[in-house]
Assembly symmetry: C3
Homo-oligomer: 157 residues x 3
Amino acid sequence: MISIETRWLVQDLLNEYALTIDHDELEAWPDFFTDDGVYKIMPAENRRQGLPGVLVLCIGSNMMRDRIKVLREANEFNIHFDRHILGMPKLEPLGGNLLRVTSCYSLFQTDQEGESRLFNVGQYEDIVDVGGPRPLFKERVVVVDTCAVPNLLATPI
Amino acid sequence: MISIETRWLVQDLLNEYALTIDHDELEAWPDFFTDDGVYKIMPAENRRQGLPGVLVLCIGSNMMRDRIKVLREANEFNIHFDRHILGMPKLEPLGGNLLRVTSCYSLFQTDQEGESRLFNVGQYEDIVDVGGPRPLFKERVVVVDTCAVPNLLATPI
Amino acid sequence: MISIETRWLVQDLLNEYALTIDHDELEAWPDFFTDDGVYKIMPAENRRQGLPGVLVLCIGSNMMRDRIKVLREANEFNIHFDRHILGMPKLEPLGGNLLRVTSCYSLFQTDQEGESRLFNVGQYEDIVDVGGPRPLFKERVVVVDTCAVPNLLATPI
């Protein structure tokens, strides 16, 4: 059984992750992963058909740090602000200190004129390591329903 | 008082219900109800005025199974993927093993081109039986704010 | 540490607040605040730059009661129904009976024709007093990402 304490810790992890992006504190984004953590964005279509193609792949938190650095230096257009609204997570024990965590999100973007629109909806499929001082993502796969991304998919989801 | 354990169980029920629809596992949808469970979709306008008219009515999980069977055989257009984002539930004891549970949802649909849009928002008004091995809906009334449904209202909400 | 009981109480506060507005029970809105409670709506742009400008300011629950009274008498156009979908709250102890609570919302509006659209997204930045018989807002700052509000910003968010 998963303790109530663990449930809250995982819920806080998901929540803090989203707030960190929404607050544009992207440099802190890799810190939510284990050193060897994997981050993927893949279309739901591929997920359903078992196809391996992904839109974004980062292996290890160092690759994530690189990505943010590049993004900070390169992204001179499509300035926007993110807002994640998260659903409640579903937790399943995987043995050891690992949990499988499934949750849904809606992601809205607001442009510099202050207009907001739906940007993306989908599902997080996570493997969370709860063995350390705070839970971390060992794997976070973002399965995007919205495969037709209207803008640059630059910031992490 | 409602125990913390019960709160989590109810939250899981709401969550699993939504994920089951989002994952297009519609055959499992009736299993979230008691055998004599009732499922209704009604417009908020009728709800506010105490009018009885509903958009969808299923009495008993067998009628729900019928509905899914028909839907699987008939629904050759408006292929889409659902995504529910749920708010937190409000729980009130009704005596015996029954709880009144109120929660909000936003429901997005993604078409086969991978474009997502807001499909429906509203409120679940549930009577949940927590007396069995897992909680089940004795009644689930979906009160849709969005009465002007732009497409076929085929899949359950 | 914040107890699990307190977490649920705060979650209920946020939830009840939103349901009260969504159910158009606006006369009960000021009751969610301490007598000297402060309610503000401010643009995220000002929040980010440390500018003091706000869109709405109510100091004390009596000023909120006035506001609702005026709204009930004046608001003859843009009749709509609200629907808040809330994310999970982040809680931080502030000492004494006070907590800092941060949470996200998406707010949809449905018009009298039954058509729904995204109205606003943003973040609640609250100071909650948990010392009394039920938690109350000592301060609720609504930081709206969506600064370009397409209609009258009449009802509280």
